[in-house]
Symmetry: C2
Subunit: 285 residues, 2 copies
């Protein structure tokens, strides 16, 4: 259908000099006919814990290697346990592959066994304009007036030094970052502009990374602590334009030890390009 | 952790006299150690095509049979192809099972092979009140002033006679049912009160059914035709109170042959009890 290198069983050969993101998400054929990846410790969100969006991108690359279609359009992953850096295997179970969509199931396993299982749907996204769009981008603060999500000495709340923030430039909208100044909000909403630190422009794989890239929404309300993802669905709706993406996450319901986080992602032209929803555990007090 | 009969590998034995829904979603041990179900033709949404929510409920029952926890809290399913009535096998691949959550992958296969694959997360829902809730129920028309979703001779648009509507009482809110009177809206939103026709009260399994129970949102805008589900994630957030559930579905973005439908479900007390989001193909013109 197109010139995508990963068609019909071949594995895309990625030049590791091209992009830190591409190198860190690359998958290679394994001796047993499966796929392997070497997960990069630089994408962590805590000691030995890799970011969920990073894992979605690796998982999608594995599915694309066996798909006739070039783009991940839907990825639903169960996070069985935290995934550590280092070598992993990716086992792709083909589902159906038609002219429009292909489905597969992917199991990502480290030395101690599976840590993530996913349903991946691939297809070819087009640049058709939307027939209907209910979610225009919010009136966000321009990126040059936003706040870094790394600790620059001005933050009331110390930002944890995690690898993810060195790999993804994250500029927090001050409108939803009162917590940075020690002034939490009653609304569990976090908004930021993001782009890859290596200069690579966004694409559907990067949108999977961005689908879980923000600090937990609880931070906006002054409840610091991690909210481990239990299950996450990311939908990619269009190929993004070059430049910064605007990402907004909001919790809908917090009850009984659970919360949901809804992400919307718009590209530099203001087009909705991805959505995600995750069920997570509330942080331990 | 509780008295749920489906703990640690046992298969819940359901009395088929108890409820049409329970009988139609029952799973039984198969000779090869897996599970089977006999899919009931009465839950169709078109000739030989079963409703997606019905299939989610069957899939969740298979996962619960091998889980120490009583409730499905997250189910993400890829719809590989339409699923027809009749005998199917359900293969459950265990993920991890901890004190709080358990994960598994389920493959539902008919005579021609797999038709649905899913990630299922199980846990024990509590009746703790929400700490935060961003989604109060909309001001819906009282159920006694709503419209039947079966053809009673008063509808401008003939309602298709499908089994699902005989199994689930569906009362369309006139505020989002102008299309029934031949007056479509510009908003792809459908809202209805639903409950099982057999009189069984809602529970987390019934909420999975309700997570895909409404007519396609395109119908609200006068675009009739089916929007086949490609991938769907349903989250169950609380055990629902007895009585009618209010279900609202809205499309967020329609572009390039794809649309998303977001469902929210509130119980009779107005509590948010479930959410779902599906990626679907737009109806063929």
């Amino acid at each position: 259908m197109d010139s995508h290198p990963g068609s019909l069983g071949s594995v895309p050969q990625i030049d590791p000099r091209a992009s830190v993101f591409d190198a860190a998400t690359a998958v290679r054929p394994a001796a047993d006919g499966g796929l392997t990846a070497d997960l990069d410790p630089g994408w962590d969100v805590g000691p030995g814990i890799l970011n969920g969006g990073y894992l979605l991108a690796v998982t999608a690359r594995a599915a694309l290697a066996g798909s006739p279609h070039p783009h991940p359009v839907a990825v639903s992953a169960s996070f069985l346990r935290a995934t550590a850096p280092g070598p992993v295997t990716l086992t792709v179970l083909p589902g159906t592959a038609g002219r429009t969509v292909a489905h597969s199931s992917v199991v990502l396993a480290g030395a101690a066994g599976p840590t993530l299982t996913a349903q991946v749907t691939t297809a070819a996204l087009t640049d058709e304009r939307p027939l209907y769009s209910a979610c225009p981008p919010p009136a966000a603060t321009p990126v040059e007036h936003c706040l870094p999500a790394t600790d620059d000495g001005t933050h009331a709340h110390p930002m944890p030094e995690v690898g993810l923030r060195t790999r993804v430039h994250t500029r927090l909208d001050p409108e939803t970052a009162g917590w940075v100044r020690g002034e939490p909000s009653s609304d569990p909403v976090v908004r930021a502009w993001v782009r890859l630190a290596d200069g690579r422009e966004p694409d559907p794989l990067a949108l999977l990374l961005f689908a879980d890239v923000l600090p937990p929404t609880g931070w906006a309300t002054g409840r610091f602590g991690w909210a481990p993802t239990v299950q996450l669905q990311a939908l990619v709706r269009a190929v993004p334009a070059p430049g910064w993406c605007l990402v907004e996450a909001r919790a809908g319901e917090v009850a009984g030890g659970w919360l949901d986080e809804d992400y919307r992602i718009w590209d530099a032209t203001g087009r909705l390009v991805a959505q995600s929803r995750q069920l997570a555990r509330t942080p331990r007090a």
